[in-house]
């Protein structure tokens, strides 16, 4: 019999019962936030059902929070509906006895930054959250997936999820990434290769030399973007880097339990003879710094490339979507992508707001600063750390001072301009170089035009005032 994949192992270890095609899967960790939970708690109340495992649930406030004045708590939230939503979460978790990192608590931040940072995210776990970028936690070799609100209610009530088994897709990236090329570029290149529906029905395991070489934070960026390839979850097998990252964090196992946990975690890898339903291989050396030109994350182009011609697409609905995208983005087919002048730069989101991301952006800002170059006068550039603890770390390293001196705004943690539910958003027609994960129409604000890219590329764009290849930017 063939061996098991990493996904198979986690799956098998969590199946409680089979109900037709659906398994009832035990959930080890449930992360919740204000936007996708009020209707779930209301449902529980209506049915008189308690929360089964408040101790395996953690709540944060992230989507709605303004990125200034958080010390005031919910009172900093001007929008009445948003404030009500945050207050509702506060009441719901208090009633249920769920731990909650409130606004202003340094441990609070974007849910997918907080879980790993606290050591809650661990290999071999099943993790869910009412947010599609839960795939981030797969970087630790945990089966982590986004769920809808009905499923949030189901997990709160039963600590299980009903689900049919997914297919196994392995994406192997061989070789080494070139200088100036990051996990973000790798992820965008993968989505460009397999498409936004390429992973539908599958869980993607990332493997290969270039993936192993990524830091834990790079792996989180890669897994974060898995959902943009249509797969609910991405996985990287845990290794010493994983264990080193977890060790000593507040919720990491301690003492004898640590050794027990590590030996358990070490069983989570794909057996050499495991069968995958599909395999995709890329060569890291072929990946250039990558940006998006359109309104779907699969609309990618190398920074040295040109905006594509809609006629070059295969199907009528793809051609229609590309034509619409170019019109929306205000771009012309055949134009070099570096001609796109930016108005706003956003460095943040659960994709790229960890300390290494901020360091990478700061490195570019500093190199430019030493040449006497600041953020271009027509650009509004903002840096939003992923959590209060990331903010504290960056400030201890002096990154905030460097960003400010270069003309960047240094903000307080939250989802910020990733989705523009809070006051940070684009005005119609504004073009944004963004380290976030979605370039959908209106995602960052109605009529806003988003180009996804890495933190270093976004910092370079802030200074150049247009999309620019960070590799040439750093040597001129």
């Amino acid at each position: 019999m063939a061996g098991k994949t990493l996904y198979d192992k986690i799956w098998d270890a969590h199946v409680i019962a089979q109900d037709g095609a659906e398994a009832i899967l035990y959930i080890d960790l449930h992360l919740i936030h204000e936007v996708t939970t009020p209707q779930a708690f209301a449902g529980l109340r209506a049915a008189g059902r308690p929360v089964r495992r408040p101790d395996r649930t953690l709540a944060v406030a992230d989507h709605n929070v303004p990125t200034i004045g958080q010390a005031l708590g919910v009172n900093a939230v001007e929008d009445e509906e948003a404030r009500l939503q945050l207050q509702t979460l506060g009441r719901n978790v208090a009633d249920a006895g769920i731990e909650y990192f409130q606004m202003g608590d340094p441990r609070n931040g974007i849910v997918h930054v907080v879980g790993p940072e606290q050591g809650r995210t661990q290999p071999g776990m099943t993790i869910v959250c009412g947010d599609s970028h839960t795939s981030t936690h797969g970087a630790f070799g945990a089966l982590a997936q986004g769920i809808g609100t009905s499923e949030v209610e189901h997990v709160l009530a039963t600590q299980t999820l009903r689900q049919a088994r997914s297919k196994n897709l392995r994406v192997t990236v061989d070789g080494q990434l070139g200088p100036g090329v990051t996990a973000k570029d790798m992820a965008l290149a993968i989505i460009g290769t397999i498409g936004t529906a390429g992973g539908t029905g599958s869980v993607i395991e990332y493997a290969g030399e270039a993936v192993r070489a990524l830091s834990m934070e790079g792996r989180m960026t890669l897994c974060n973007l898995t959902i943009e390839a249509g797969a609910r979850a991405g996985l990287v097998a845990p290794d010493d880097k994983t264990f080193d990252y977890i060790r000593g964090r507040p919720s990491a196992p301690k003492g004898a339990a640590w050794d027990m946990a590590v030996s358990y975690w070490k069983s989570y890898f794909s057996d050499p003879d495991a069968l995958f339903d599909r395999e995709v291989r890329l060569n890291a050396a072929d990946i250039a710094p990558t940006v998006t030109w359109g309104t779907s994350p699969e609309d990618v182009v190398s920074v040295t490339g040109l905006v594509p011609d809609p006629d070059s697409f295969a199907t009528p609905d793809k051609r229609a979507s590309a034509t619409r995208a170019l019109d929306y983005m205000g771009l012309i087919a055949g134009q070099p992508i570096t001609e796109a002048k930016v108005d706003v730069v956003f460095i943040g989101s659960c994709t790229n707001s960890r300390i290494e991301d901020l360091r990478a952006a700061a490195e570019v800002a500093q190199a430019a600063f030493l040449e006497g170059r600041l953020v271009a006068p027509h650009v509004r550039a903002m840096v939003v750390p992923g959590s209060g603890l990331v903010r504290d770390q960056a400030e201890a390293e002096g990154l905030d001072a460097l960003f400010r001196a270069s003309g960047f705004e240094w903000r307080e943690p939250g989802c910020s301009m990733c989705l523009g539910m809070n006051p940070d958003r684009l005005a119609p027609g504004q073009r944004c170089a963004s380290t976030s994960n979605r370039n959908f129409e209106g995602r960052q604000g109605r009529g806003g035009r988003t180009h996804l890219m890495s933190p270093a590329m976004a910092a370079a764009a802030a200074i150049a005032g247009h999309i620019v290849d960070v590799r040439t930017f750093l040597t001129v």
């Binding site: 019962a17 989507h63 009905s150 039963t158 027990m260 609905d317």
Partner: protein
């Protein structure tokens, strides 16, 4: 959950691929703590211009499709965010069935959990239905029992659906209630886990 058995209704064609949940219901409508009332935000940026006026050319604004209960959409419908507000908004608008050649996983699940039927057909079948829906007669029949979609021309296509999902939809069953029948197994699982992975019980 509302049961879904058979639907005779108007079908509206939306011939775009990769329609994401941000487009189905933009974020400004996610601040609600209710499930109801989201129809006003459905496809907001498609339906309304910057001044909040209806765009006359958008399919659901055209008189013949205003009362549509079936949406025929391009491939990979519902990609992006996990927001369940997307099916809630569709249902609040009156749409209880979406037909496409493919759905994003989370959206697909969210639909089924709310009694909205996602029908997957082959690309050429979806295209044929899309063409018919553009014509004068666009009242279609979707029958879950026989797993078929019938167009006014008489064209009939069969779709696949997981038998348990089908059963739950037909009966309008509550998934939580079903799962709680397995509560003893969950208890046992938790006891075993506490022994094998004590660090998770801190």
């Amino acid at each position: 959950m509302k049961a879904f058995t058979r639907l005779d209704g108007r079908a509206a064609p939306l011939g775009l691929a990769n329609v994401d949940t941000d487009q189905i219901i933009p974020k400004q409508f996610l601040k609600t703590v209710e499930r109801e009332g989201l129809a006003k935000g459905l496809f907001y940026d498609f339906r309304f211009d910057e001044a909040g006026k209806e765009k006359t050319d958008f399919v659901l604004n055209r008189p013949e499709y205003r009362a549509a209960s079936i949406l025929i959409a391009g491939d990979n419908f519902g990609c992006g965010s996990s927001r369940e507000h997307a099916p809630w908004a569709l249902m609040d608008f009156g749409i209880t069935c979406v037909i496409s050649s493919g759905f994003a996983d989370i959206f697909h699940n969210n639909c089924l959990n709310n009694g909205l039927l996602p029908v997957v057909l082959k690309p050429q079948e979806v295209e044929a239905l899309m063409e018919e829906a553009k014509g004068g007669n666009h009242v279609f029949t979707v029958d879950l029992e026989t797993q078929t979609v019938s167009a006014p021309s008489g064209a009939k296509f069969r779709f696949e659906i997981d038998p348990d999902r089908k059963h739950k939809l037909l009966e309008g069953l509550d998934a939580i209630g079903e799962t709680l029948q397995h509560a003893p197994s969950i208890d046992v699982y938790e006891m075993k886990r506490a022994l094998a992975q004590p660090w998770l019980e801190a």
